[in-house]
């Protein structure tokens, strides 16, 4: 009965939705009438990340782009950085995003209207548009269409701190542009209207205040900035070191930025280092968002000076470890604050943030059966010991709920590119360790656990036939035996004779990144979760040298750091898995400049 009803329904829908060819062709012909679109090509990455680039870049771009165009009231040639309709002011604004403002390179003007019906005032030549004759607030984006937009100064509006700018055409010809009007107070539900070839002659736009302080951002386009300031008790050092040690990381807040560190100078009693926050720009260029130089005194680690970064999950905070001597907590945008490095973690090779960003885990100094857990903000250190830890464990991860540590047997690193690959070749001991009690639970085949927070690719066939991540209502399983991968029950194909070498989840658990290799080259593969993304599939985003190693993955899975080992020096690449772009950081360069 039910099946018959379903069949009836399907038949009826098919009939109700039947369309004739003429109708389809009529609609297809409407494509010819679509307004011209002009998209900023290589800088498309900035579109999604516009929220991300935040005040620093916005400020600089406003300073450099908006100022020449916008006149101080009454003086058309003087810059007025306090007021702007320049698109960059709206980067990150959801209304601007919905209208397709993107990076702003194709946006002529963007401005809000107190009510949609004001369009008659702002765009007097637009013609009547009844759908805009409503009192709801609205937002307008006018697209550039490649024509420069002449702007002349206008009188300020009294008492509101806003200005009206008159935009006059440079000739008597109408200036026609495509524009978007979003009507409604809620960006998500506001009505989107797009108009093509609108005459914007006589446009008046309400200006809003732009960030006034541009001085915080030191420079643009690649050259290293002088350190903005020194950290406590330190003196800036500028001479390049003969053996620069540079390490990079991507903050786990999903921002496409490099944190780079370089040891500038070391002697028996101190290490001078510089850390920089860099953001990739279009055309392979890089913006320095901020940079700090500092010196740490004390006995230098016998293994040499180094800088390590541990971006704190879900925050703008990075823990910097310098030369085994000390640590700094760097809240982006503020000077790094020095911390006392706990004795328990004196020689810990690496540390691992809990997904909740509360504490870091690392093997305790000279205690193979102990993991030290450090809360750097509060300075507290505690230890978790278990006899089993002596048997297994060198690689530490966390479960996503931050309650348990995932510990894997130490892989043999000789000739092996990653712990994942090593785990494929062995039969290591692995298990869970309760971060409070130290109670251990060894893994068995078939075990499931939430893998996102700590798995970081260290899967092994002996760990479990299915290693799962529990997300919302469903369970996603990952199975890896070096030849096969499956995700959510869907087999994930690997290209040709390639074998998976490493896996990483994005922080949001929606994307799995895999590094595969076939002996000749490495391939970065991206799998969007088939139960979330429409038409899931493998996307090979980059072909890389055979020795490429998978590094950090940003929270949203778009940005990936990859390391390559060259006999002479270490290099890093920041990859955009959506646009296919990459930025290379050549650490052999003394200046540490990024090259496209």
């Amino acid at each position: 009965m039910s099946e018959r009803f379903d069949e009836e329904l399907r038949d009826w829908l098919t009939e109700a939705g039947r369309v004739d060819t003429d109708r389809v062709q009529r609609l297809a012909s409407a494509i010819d009438g679509l307004p011209a679109r002009r998209r900023p090509g290589p800088s498309g990455w900035l579109r999604v990340s516009s929220l991300v680039l935040a005040l620093g870049i916005v400020s600089v771009l406003v300073a450099l782009v908006a100022v020449p165009y916008i006149g101080r009231p009454g003086t058309s040639s003087s810059p007025t950085p306090q007021a702007s309709t320049a698109p960059v002011t709206w980067l990150g604004d959801p209304r601007y995003e919905r209208c397709g403002g993107g990076t702003g390179e194709n946006v002529l003007q963007a401005f809000p209207m107190a009510q949609a019906s004001d369009y008659r005032r702002h765009l007097p030549q637009m013609g009547l548009s009844p759908e805009l004759d409503v009192s709801a607030p609205a937002f307008v984006v006018i697209f550039r269409e490649g024509h420069p937009f002449p702007v002349v100064g206008g009188p300020p509006r009294d008492g509101e701190g806003e200005s009206l700018v008159s935009v006059a055409p440079s000739s008597g010809q109408p200036r026609r542009h495509d524009l978007c009007v979003l009507v409604g107070s809620e960006p998500e539900t506001a009505e989107l209207h797009v108009y093509g070839e609108v005459d914007v002659s006589g446009l008046t736009a309400v200006l809003v205040a732009a960030p006034a302080d541009f001085s915080a951002v030191p420079t643009l386009d690649g050259s290293l900035a002088p350190a903005a300031s020194a950290s406590p008790g330190s003196a800036p050092t500028t001479s390049p070191a003969p053996e620069p040690a540079l390490l990079t990381s991507v903050p786990e807040v999903g921002r496409p930025r490099f944190a780079t560190g370089q040891v500038l100078r070391r002697d028996d009693g101190s290490v001078a280092a510089r850390v920089s926050l860099l953001a990739p720009r279009a055309g392979g260029r890089v913006t320095i968002v901020e940079a700090w130089t500092f010196r740490v005194s004390g006995p230098v680690d016998s293994e040499g000076a180094y800088v390590q970064f541990y971006p704190r999950p879900g925050s703008d905070m990075i823990l910097i470890r310098v030369g085994g001597l000390g640590a700094f907590l760097w809240t982006l945008g503020a000077p790094p604050a020095q911390l006392e490095w706990p004795d328990e973690l004196l020689h810990a090779a690496t540390l691992h943030w809990s997904p909740d960003g509360r504490e870091l885990a690392g093997y305790a100094w000279r205690r193979l059966d102990t993991i030290a857990l450090w809360e750097p903000v509060e300075g507290a250190v505690r230890r978790v010991s278990a006899p089993e830890l002596r048997r297994f464990g060198s690689v530490i991860g966390w479960t996503a709920d931050s309650t348990q540590l995932i510990v894997f047997a130490e892989p043999i690193q000789d000739g092996v590119s990653s712990a994942f690959e090593a785990a494929c070749r062995q039969d290591p001991w692995s298990g869970l360790v309760d971060a409070r009690t130290g109670a251990t639970v060894p893994f068995h085949r078939g075990d499931d656990f939430d893998a996102r927070g700590g798995l970081r690719g260290f899967l092994s066939p002996s760990v479990a036939s299915s290693v799962g991540a529990v997300l919302s209502e469903e369970r996603v399983t990952v199975y890896a035996d070096c030849q096969d991968l499956s995700l959510g029950g869907t087999q994930l194909a690997l290209p040709g004779a390639a074998q998976a070498r490493d896996l990483r989840w994005s922080g949001d658990g929606r994307t799995l990144l895999a590094m595969a290799a076939d002996g000749q080259r490495s391939m970065l593969l991206r799998y969007d979760r088939p139960d979330i993304e429409p038409e899931p599939g493998r996307v090979m985003t980059h072909l890389l040298p055979p020795d490429a190693l998978l590094g950090d993955v940003s929270a949203g899975g778009r940005w990936v750091l990859v390391a390559g080992e060259d006999p002479r020096c270490l290099s890093r690449e920041l990859l955009d898995t959506e646009m296919g772009a990459s930025w290379t950081l050549d650490l052999c360069e003394e200046t540490s400049a990024l090259v496209p």
Binding site: L13, G17, R37, R39, R47, D528, D531, E533, P534, E578
Partner: protein
């Protein structure tokens, strides 16, 4: 053939993003009949369906740079169509138009009446019920994609579809009684 069309998508998307209307046509044309059909079934008005799909074409064209993966274009375009149709549904008063498409030969009168009753019952449903039934029974979308479109878990899709079908049956029974 389908595989070939799929393999062409990345280059078509790249060209369309650069402003090539012909490439955009190549991308959307294969999907127009089903897009129109779904919009028509959903809106119960061919003219409104035409407008909805035209809006979807425009928004897809202007938003093409936001497409994350070329091979996801069909699903992405469906999303635009659904959004556009839903927007129109939300804007208009709930009316059930005369179902001229249900006119049938006299020798199949009983079946024609059944279809008409089903059409009227469908028109009485809430928007969300119509949508999920259209996605499932007309577009035959997998549960996973429907979940992605609606932004709800798969389990919710299944339960909503079940409830929508139950309400349609009830409405249909009422139509037949009345």
């Amino acid at each position: 053939m389908r595989e070939q069309a799929k393999s062409l998508q990345p280059s078509l998307v790249a060209r369309a993003v650069a402003g090539d209307r012909e490439a955009f046509r190549g991308l959307v044309e294969p999907h127009l009949p089903t897009a129109l059909g779904a919009a028509t079934a959903l809106l119960r008005s061919p003219s409104e369906a035409d407008d909805a799909v035209q809006d979807a074409l425009l928004s897809a064209w202007l938003g093409l740079h936001q497409l994350r993966r070329a091979d996801a274009f069909p699903a992405w375009f469906r999303r635009h169509v659904i959004r556009s149709a839903m927007k129109r549904l939300g804007q208009r008063p709930r009316v059930t138009e005369l179902d001229l498409t249900a006119m049938a030969p006299v020798d199949d009168l009983e079946r024609a009446l059944e279809r008409r009753a089903l059409g009227r019952a469908f028109g009485r449903l809430e928007t969300k019920d119509r949508l999920i039934l259209t996605l499932h029974h007309f577009w035959s979308l997998p549960v996973a994609e429907t979940a992605g479109l609606l932004g709800v878990p798969e389990g919710t899709v299944k339960s909503r579809a079940h409830q929508a079908r139950a309400r349609l049956r009830a409405a249909y029974a009422a139509e037949e009684r009345g």
